[in-house]
């Protein structure tokens, strides 16, 4: 099923006076079988959690090939092919794995769809009111009990040092701070680091990162330590609660891990969604684009964070509170911060 470059290779050999042969990648035909093999090999050689997931829930990628290969026939439609690929990729149980076509996107979202939502934007609106402030991607205000509340919806929204300094100065009167990253599905890791740097006075080991060094399932670099350096600007010194739910994913997961390593910080809410593999992109012969986890990140004890981080205080939004327009997770955080302020 591999695609042949025979004629071009001969031409190249002549053009280089017979000195060299081509350096080429393995390519596959643009057929259902060729695209299937290309997709399977991309994951087999580049996906970073095959060994880990074999341990965690018995993922056997060779067996996956055998099982889904039977569904591939020469005359199948693109949509039928997509459906096979969608099911095959779901075996990885990874929200960072997507297949993009012109008509659909294959995704695995069970990591939050199977759990309580633990966030309501209509209830959040009650807390924010109409007079909240906006510093780039950060919405913030001072709640009635003198607790500062910050909502950060996406780590893709740029946050500069100036935004952070202005916001923290505005909230300096508060006795505690809530940073709400629920429903934040990630974005730029640099934004996560920039914000976290405002909450430590010393350099802290926050975890490790590896990258694949070759196509083998176990071909990894040594783990490199990841440190958080304190910001040279305004830094917060009072208690902080970080609010999480199952939709706190990817760069948000990394942010929560970082904050968890710092002093005076309490994680409140539900387990995060995970997503600790830095995603890379590739493509299939038919042009469909694929995204997958390429570099695993760990906590300081070298534990995988792919399936999420447990909060320090586990709490779900209760139906009673929601009926009363109350957010149980915000209320829990307020109680913790008020107790710490005593």
């Amino acid at each position: 099923m591999k695609h042949s470059h025979g004629l071009f290779h001969t031409l190249f050999y002549l053009l280089t006076l017979g000195l060299f042969s081509c350096i080429d990648a393995e390519t596959y035909n643009d057929s259902p079988r060729g695209n299937f093999e290309a997709l399977w090999h991309t994951i087999d050689e580049q996906y970073c959690f095959l060994d880990y997931k074999a341990q965690e829930y018995g993922l056997d990628w060779d067996e996956v090939h055998e099982r889904y290969s039977r569904d591939i026939v020469d005359n199948m439609t693109d949509k039928d092919l997509f459906n096979v690929f969608d099911r095959m990729l779901a075996e990885l149980r990874d929200g960072h794995v997507n297949l993009y076509t012109g008509f659909d996107v294959a995704r695995y979202w069970d990591w939050y769809e199977d759990y309580p939502k633990n966030f309501s934007d209509s209830i959040q609106r009650i807390y924010l009111g109409k007079d909240y402030h906006i510093a780039s991607g950060l919405k913030y205000k001072v709640l009635d009990d003198n607790i500062g509340y910050i909502y950060y919806e996406s780590f893709s929204d740029a946050v500069g040092n100036g935004n952070l300094s202005d916001m923290l100065q505005e909230l300096a009167i508060c006795k505690g701070l809530i940073i709400d990253v629920r429903n934040n599905s990630g974005g730029q890791l640099t934004n996560a680091d920039r914000i976290a740097a405002r909450f430590t006075n010393k350099k802290v080991l926050t975890g490790y990162i590896c990258h694949k060094t070759g196509p083998g399932h176990s071909d990894f670099s040594e783990p490199y330590p990841v440190y958080l350096e304190p910001s040279g600007s305004v830094r917060w010194q009072k208690p902080v609660c970080v609010l999480t739910n199952r939709s706190s994913y990817s760069a948000t997961n990394d942010f929560v891990n970082t904050m968890k390593q710092l002093e005076n910080i309490t994680i409140v809410g539900d387990r995060t969604g995970g997503g600790s593999g830095l995603p890379f992109s590739s493509e299939l012969p038919n042009g469909w684009s694929i995204r997958f986890s390429a570099s695993p990140m760990y906590d300081p004890q070298m534990n995988h964070l792919e399936f999420g981080i447990d909060p320090d205080v586990q709490v779900d939004m209760s139906a009673d509170d929601m009926r009363r327009g109350k957010d149980t997770i915000i209320e829990t955080a307020r109680r913790i911060l008020n107790e710490k302020a005593l």
Binding site: F12, L15, T16, L17, L19, F20, S21, C22, I23, D24, A25, E26, T27, D30, A38, T42, Q46, C48, L189, T190, D193, I209, H211, K212, T213, G214, P215, D219, S221, Y224, V226, L278, P279, F280, S281, S282, E283, P285, N286, G287, W288, S289, R291, A294, S295
Partner: protein, 280 residues
């Protein structure tokens, strides 16, 4: 052994004196040839850090060259400085993805001249070769671009053949450059630039290269045509860059048609017709 060394010394002395007799009317190191060419071509790009698919498309290319004789080895050595740049737009086979690529290449070095006869001259030498460029994939996530940075010591050979059609002098030239040892920047197989530049994990990102992992070549075939008082140069430039470093496979095959002008000049005014004396 002694006899061999003596024989080589005699041959070398003879060769040096032969060349100095060849152009004894002018101090040969005062000859300078400059050319500036532009071109368009077809390019094929593969970089498995970005995609396993080959992208193909058009490129624009610029080349500026300066050659000058020196006094070294009795005037048998010339210098060559060459700056090339190219910019390409390419698409994958299905047309669903695109990549932009650009590269600046600078070479500088020396060639030793072996005059075969009055019309043909062979040059052999070595060059320092620096390259800086990029490939940008328009739809990738955390691997959207690849930086290209590498230096080489490069073996170089050239042949000049001069001939006349009627009374008009023409010149054909072929040059081939093959890097044989160098160093190249490359991220790890799936190492992100975030990891390299933000977290500072940059060990193993500069690797030794040679023919086994960087079999590359540049070649240039040109024809110089006298047009009025100037010289038109047309030619083919083949640029075949390949590497397999940190398990990342790359190639860029470019074929460009080049056209431009050559300027020959002599650093001090001289009454002799310049074209008769030029070594290039």
């Amino acid at each position: 052994m002694r006899r061999s060394i003596l024989l080589l010394a005699i041959l070398f002395t003879w060769a040096v004196s032969a060349l100095s007799q060849e152009n004894n009317s002018l101090p040969i190191n005062h000859f300078v040839t400059r050319s500036t060419l532009v071109g368009v071509g077809y390019t094929q790009i593969l970089d498995t850090y970005l995609s396993p698919a080959e992208y193909a498309g058009i490129e624009g290319r610029f080349l500026h060259e300066r050659m000058r004789m020196t006094k070294l080895f009795g005037g048998r050595v010339s210098t060559q400085s060459m700056v090339q740049s190219n910019l390409a737009y390419t698409e994958n086979r299905s047309g669903s993805g695109s990549e932009f690529a650009g590269m600046v290449n600078w070479t500088y070095g020396l060639h030793y001249h072996f005059p075969i006869n009055g019309n043909l001259r062979i040059l052999v030498g070595g060059l320092g070769d620096g390259n800086l460029g990029f490939i940008y994939n328009t739809r990738n996530s955390n691997n959207p671009a690849q930086a290209k940075a590498y230096i080489n010591l490069t073996a170089s050979a050239m042949a000049f053949y001069k001939f006349r059609i009627g009374q008009r002098p023409f010149s054909v030239r072929y040059q081939v450059n093959v890097p044989f040892i160098g160093a190249m920047f490359s991220p790890g197989y799936q190492q992100s630039y975030y990891e390299i530049f933000t977290l500072g994990n940059h060990d193993k990102v500069v690797r030794f290269t040679s023919l086994h992992n960087q079999p590359s070549m540049r070649q240039l075939l040109t024809l110089d045509i006298p047009v009025g008082g100037t010289t038109l140069r047309v030619g083919y430039l083949g640029d075949y860059q390949q590497s397999k470093v940190n398990n990342i496979r790359c190639h860029t095959y470019s074929h460009a048609f080049m056209v431009g002008f050559v300027k020959n000049f002599y650093l001090i005014k001289h009454k002799d017709p310049l074209r008769k004396q030029l070594p290039f």
